[in-house]
Amino acid sequence: MICEALTAGRPGVKAVELVTDTSRRKLLAAAGAGAAAGAVALAPGAAYAAETRRSGSSAQESVVAHIKDHRSGTISLMVGEREVVVNDRDLVARILNAAGGK
């Protein structure tokens, strides 16, 4: 299912929750991905940094973001006992830029 926080004004962006029971994967309602982006120090002037607002269902705890493959547009967010996988090339690019110091 598509996360409302991410899809608002952002067509084509999808967030899914990954249930890693080592055997099966389920796509469930996703939540909290928007908040995770706020955990990364993004470069000033980035368009979404100014526009994105936290939704009512945003994560209320620390979140770990993991970009397993920098060539993909996928980022995994570890929150509580869940993993939320976000496919968002723009978000990934902004984090990679931030990680590179730009």
Partner: protein, 458 residues
Amino acid sequence: MSSHREAPEISKDPVADSTDVYAFVSPKNPDMVTLIANYVPLQQPNGGPNFFEFGDDVLYEIHIANSGKGTADISYQFRFFSQIRNPKTFLYNIGPIASIDDPNWNRPQFYSVTRIKNGKKKMLAKKLACPPVNVGPRSTPDYAKLSKQAVHKLGKRKVFAGQRADAFHVDLGSVFDLGALRPFNEAHLIPLAAMDGINSVQSYNVHSIAIEVPIKEVTRNGNVPSDASDAGAVIGVWTSAKRQKSRMFNDATAKYESKGPWEQVSRLGNPLVNEVLIPMADKDKWNHTAPRFDSRFARYVNKPELAVLLPVLYPGVFPNLAKYGKDRADLNAILMTGIPSGVVPGFQNYTGPVESDMLRLNLAIKPTAKPNNLGLVAGDAQGFPNGRRIDDDVVTIELRAIAGLTLPLVDPSFTPDGAASAIEDGTTNTNAKATNTFPYLGLPGSGYDTTQGKTKAS
């Protein structure tokens, strides 16, 4: 060892490292089954001041498969948390610990038990107390009492989680010195004088999770089976430990924080499978894989490396084994599918064709008054590989099986070498004596009473 430090990754994570699994019909109550999973290997009893304990950040599970699919039809989950009662002392205890709720114990640990069946979770209990470790006569003067207090009744079930004496015996020092078995040292490729084996695990403790449940709670038909030929009489048992996917050091608290879904980092069903059969390069993957996917590893069971090494390490001793080129259907049956009917008269513990490493127990076979620690190969169908009892000599049983002793069960054309029925590591059970009541494993050795070994360089 059975599964102590058996894979590169888990050897660096002792609190999540499963060492042994036991499953047997309770000797005093044949309507109950006892399941035990041991963790935290090779505990020297005097290892203070931060003595051994379960991992608060580890999800421990004991699984039961009863539907022939190699999946966890029932799981018991155990989650732990520790407290520090007095933040101003470096001591584990500030006086004698007379009871498991004694405030002198500064680092108590508690746990919850949750049962999962058909995907539905039910918490059976929470904040159950573990016993302290056995520190010594001043700190834990009546350890048997502490142990008894830590056996909790949950309806008809009993549960215990805490330190016990390891019951496994093996000669690690010799076995991992190029596959040497001390009694047969003179026949080794690099000969030494023959001698008795040395039990490397003697006097070490482990942390045990033990649960005794009604048999009808774990069988597919909800009954207490009486017909050993009934497929519904057999359960598969294994344990797993899981960690959350992400672990990060919080520099503000100076502690690790875990986030994300639980990932399996350790598992164990039959003894010695990951230890001896799975190559080092695949051991970590094996630990992360659910048993129902074990066909990926079946080639290591069907053509075990150790069966090739034995004739090389002991020249001329295993000529028939050396010539055997077919897959080891005996080992596949014992370890991966269970033994089907017709192989051993009056016995089966077959769980279907799904290859999966599980400890398989036929619950219709009741405890014998005179157990033989060589189990099924010695005619005692109540012992390993029909489940596993505390005193079963699994090292000898599996050594002999790999050496070819069980091959004629499935391939009558094979004649075992004479050494196959004699091979052993030369150890005897010199561990703490098992108790005859739940949780059965012997009381842990105390730190004060630990004596030092001797360092000797070759």
